[in-house]
């Protein structure tokens, strides 16, 4: 009951936060120079005042900003994110079309980074100062410091252009008409490079964080007691050290999961991955207000959701934490 009450409060807080975020985003987007009409008239290669006025009226941009904001929020609370000026489609439909690709990419990257990052951190912490520890630390530092864009380009040049091992563009072989397992295998091959590229940065962070936390926990009294009691080293590492060292990792994972949808813009751009990150980037360049705000809102909603989930995971990792 207590947990349900807590959840209900948090959901309500999250919804309020989203409303505030939608308002702030609306004002920020309007503050940027240019609007969708100027971009569209520009693309037509000519425009006159009458044509521009006609478009502004059509999109409701001739109304005062406060009126536009009121209308926007009224639609948002009803679950309507509006209509894309440029793509002439409802924003929700456009986002729904692209969201699965982003979830697949970022979800894969999330799992890869978490699994390998924690494992590498645990391995490195076993013998601090050993060659293995040094190697993992250096590699993690290199991936942490390398710009994602450069890493992605190098991966494409090496594995796609030079070696021809893996596809480097898109999420499937266009025109191949594959089905069943063949389609799955093709998809997995296309996913590998972008997911790995996106995963490397966080993998490095998790590895460094896990290593540091495990070294700290390993010095604590209860670990010494376990050792004195003759508990097997492997069990001490898994059940005592690792579990207690996971809290900061869970915190970071929550932040990563919340931000990953919006954070995949560069990866999606380099690998021509048809996800929401690119949709958002294009909408920004074209000042497609409703689409841009819709993308922002969806990414914000994901952040709120994962924040909540992280709190719940805390209680599983450390039963001493109480939700109230």
């Amino acid at each position: 009951m207590k947990r349900l009450q807590y959840m209900a409060t948090r959901v309500l807080q999250g919804l309020l936060a989203l409303l505030v975020i939608a308002t702030v985003n609306f004002m920020l987007v309007r503050a940027a120079p240019g609007d969708p009409v100027s971009v569209m008239a520009g693309e037509a290669g000519a425009s006159d005042a009458q044509f521009v006025a006609q478009l502004r009226q059509q999109f409701g941009l001739d109304q005062p900003v406060s009126t536009q904001l009121g209308r926007y929020l009224a639609h948002v609370v009803q679950g309507d994110l509006g209509f894309s000026y440029r793509q002439q489609q409802p924003v929700l439909a456009l986002i729904a079309e692209r969201l699965p690709a982003t979830l697949l990419l970022t979800g894969s990257a999330f799992v890869l980074s978490l699994l390998f990052g924690v494992a590498l951190g645990a391995i490195a912490s076993r013998r601090p100062g050993s060659w293995m520890d040094s190697a993992i630390t250096v590699v993690a530092l290199v991936f942490y410091a390398t710009p994602l864009y450069w890493l992605a380009m190098m991966a494409v040049l090496l594995f796609t252009v030079q070696l021809g091992w893996l596809p480097g563009f898109g999420h499937m072989t266009v025109g191949a008409d594959l089905h069943g397992l063949a389609r799955l295998w093709d998809g997995a091959q296309h996913l590998l490079l972008p997911a790995l590229t996106l995963a490397l940065f966080y993998m490095a962070v998790y590895a460094r964080m896990t290593r540091a936390a495990m070294l700290e926990v390993a010095q604590m009294d209860f670990v010494k007691t376990a050792r004195a009691k003759g508990v097997a080293p492997g069990r001490i590492l898994r059940a005592h050290v690792l579990r207690n060292a996971l809290l900061p990792v869970v915190t970071l994972a929550g932040i990563q999961a919340g931000g990953m949808i919006g954070g995949a813009v560069l990866t999606e751009t380099v690998f021509a991955w048809p996800g929401i990150g690119r949709l958002m980037f294009d909408a920004l360049l074209q000042r497609d207000y409703n689409l841009l705000l819709g993308c922002f809102l969806v990414t914000a909603a994901m952040a709120v959701l994962f924040n909540l989930l992280t709190d719940l995971v805390y209680t599983l990792v450390d039963p001493r934490i109480d939700l109230h």
Partner: protein
């Protein structure tokens, strides 16, 4: 008919070619296969009557057609019209339409579609055409295969505005009485072209399939055309290099990559297919404020900028210095104009005479990629050398549009298409009636010269080439003397393609015309 003068019987050209492609070339083409083309950025829509940006034209030029096509000398060729005549007074044009042409949904294409397309649909939606249609008094369907355009006054460039980008034919039976912008058919465009819309996987690709009922026998030759969306410039180059893409349209990769990719085995490069557009670059100069309102200061800019070096370095040789407002590939262009060779000393002298007091000049680069950024750096360097203080003001596309719309700039890079005729693509930038906030493509610089206005009007309203030539020569000389803008280059947009693709470019609008005549070896 006695009062009418035959301008051109398009059907006569069919004896040697089919719509601009020599028959022997078509005969060589193999049937079948798939061509993979790059498109960048992803178009917002494919309904060509509503969206006229480059990517839309590149793809939808396969779906929609105009009454005419243009060869690389910009001579009109038959497309949906087989012949056309102009009355002696130059105010009536009568087009005979091709019989048995069908829309992709099987309905017949008739003169009623032409009247609806031009007089109803495009008059409302086509920002560029609406201006030119001011010369048109009425459009009538005389019979199902005959259309008559009645003009208010003779309009010299009239026959130059019938290609699919300027005047695409749209199906009346689908759009009449509907809200054009939200018609669901926009998602599945229906035209008369050699390819039919098949599928659009957003963010990934657009697939077109051959139209088996196309009205030109033997066309199209290939079965499918995929347009791939790859947003990053370096990734686009890598996609071509890895063999995923067969054709990279002009502007698809950075110029330094064009040089590199053109050297790969089995790769060809062509600068053809831009004759109709004739991309011409210049620096807008805000003539409204000092010191830019001084002719001497503007002339100094021309002398300070090393356009030869920019062509070699920033454009990697795919450009040549512009001599004035007319691109050399459009009608009535002349080189008999004052010249501005690079001469820093002369520039300094003119600057001193102009009364320049050391104000900072704000320069807006064009946010279209690396080549434009490099040019901006070169111009800043050249102007600094001549003693002018320059500040680069970076923007994105929306911000750039906004600043030009509001005249909030000192110098700004741009390039515009000239559409084959000075009345269609040049006059708009220099005549005083085109000074209005809200467009980055009109007389943005605020130049006012009544003689220039009169000469452009005379050139547009004359129909005999000699009279037009006379007016346009004088206006070129006058403009180059007064430098309302600083002309930079005639730009080439090279198309990269694999040699196995034959005849990808078959008209003056290049790839935008369609892949109908292309084939695979």
């Amino acid at each position: 008919m006695k009062r009418r003068q035959l301008i051109r019987m398009g059907a006569t050209s069919l004896g040697v070619s089919i719509a601009g492609v020599p028959l022997h070339l078509l005969a060589q083409g193999k049937k079948g296969g798939t061509i993979n083309v790059l498109v960048q950025p992803e178009p917002p829509g494919l309904m060509m009557g509503l969206v006229q940006n480059g990517p839309t034209q590149l793809i939808s030029g396969n779906i929609y057609e105009g009454l005419l096509r243009y060869d690389d000398k910009l001579n009109p060729q038959p497309q949906l019209a087989t012949s056309w005549v102009m009355s002696k007074d130059g105010k009536t044009y009568t087009f005979k339409l091709k019989p048995n042409v069908k829309w992709h949904d099987g309905k017949p294409f008739t003169s009623a579609d032409v009247v609806f397309s031009v007089d109803v649909f495009l008059r409302k939606t086509h920002a560029r055409l609406r201006g030119n249609l001011e010369a048109v008094e009425s459009i009538k369907a005389l019979d199902p295969l005959t259309v008559e355009f009645q003009l208010k006054y003779p309009f010299g460039p009239f026959l130059g505005m019938f290609e699919n980008g300027t005047m695409p034919m749209v199906p009346k039976h689908i759009y009449e009485g509907t809200d054009f912008a939200t018609n669901p058919a926009n998602a599945t465009p229906v035209g008369t072209g050699p390819f039919k819309f098949k599928e659009w996987a957003k963010g990934s690709y657009i697939l077109l399939e051959a139209n088996p009922a196309y009205h030109v026998a033997g066309v199209p030759l290939v079965e499918k055309v995929y347009y791939h969306v790859i947003p990053d410039a370096a990734a686009r180059a890598a996609a071509f290099e890895s063999g995923k893409i067969d054709i990279v349209p002009g502007g698809g990769v950075e110029y330094f990559d064009v040089q590199r990719l053109a050297k790969l085995p089995g790769v060809a490069v062509s600068t053809k297919g831009w004759e109709f557009f004739s991309p011409h670059s210049w620096l807008w100069i805000n003539n409204r404020k000092a010191p830019l309102n001084s002719v001497k200061f503007r002339q100094a800019l021309m002398h300070a900028i090393d356009r030869e070096a920019m062509a070699k370095i920033a454009w990697y040789g795919f450009a040549k210095p512009a001599t004035g407002p007319f691109n050399s590939s459009i009608k009535f262009a002349s080189t008999d104009v004052p010249k501005y060779p690079k001469d820093i000393e002369k520039a300094k002298k003119l600057i001193a005479e102009s009364g320049y007091k050391g104000e900072t000049i704000r320069l807006l680069p064009l946010p279209y990629g690396e080549s434009w950024q490099r040019q901006a750096e070169m111009v800043r360097q050249a102007l600094t050398q001549a003693g002018i203080k320059v500040e680069l003001v970076p923007t994105d596309v929306a911000g750039w549009n906004q600043r030009l719309n509001e005249w909030d700039y000192d110098l700004a890079f741009t390039y515009l298409y000239q559409y084959g005729d000075p009345a269609l693509g040049v006059a708009r930038n220099y005549t005083s009636q085109n000074i209005a906030k809200g467009s980055p493509f009109n007389n943005v610089e605020g130049y006012v010269n009544s003689r220039v206005d009169a000469l452009f009007a005379a050139g547009a309203r004359a129909t005999d080439p000699a009279s037009r030539q006379k007016a346009y020569l004088e206006v070129q000389q006058l403009l180059v003397e007064e430098v309302p803008v600083a002309w930079l280059h005639e730009i080439n947009f090279p198309t990269l393609y694999r040699s196995k693709v034959q005849n990808p470019i078959s008209s003056g609008i290049g790839l935008n015309d369609s892949m109908g005549r292309a084939s695979l070896a």
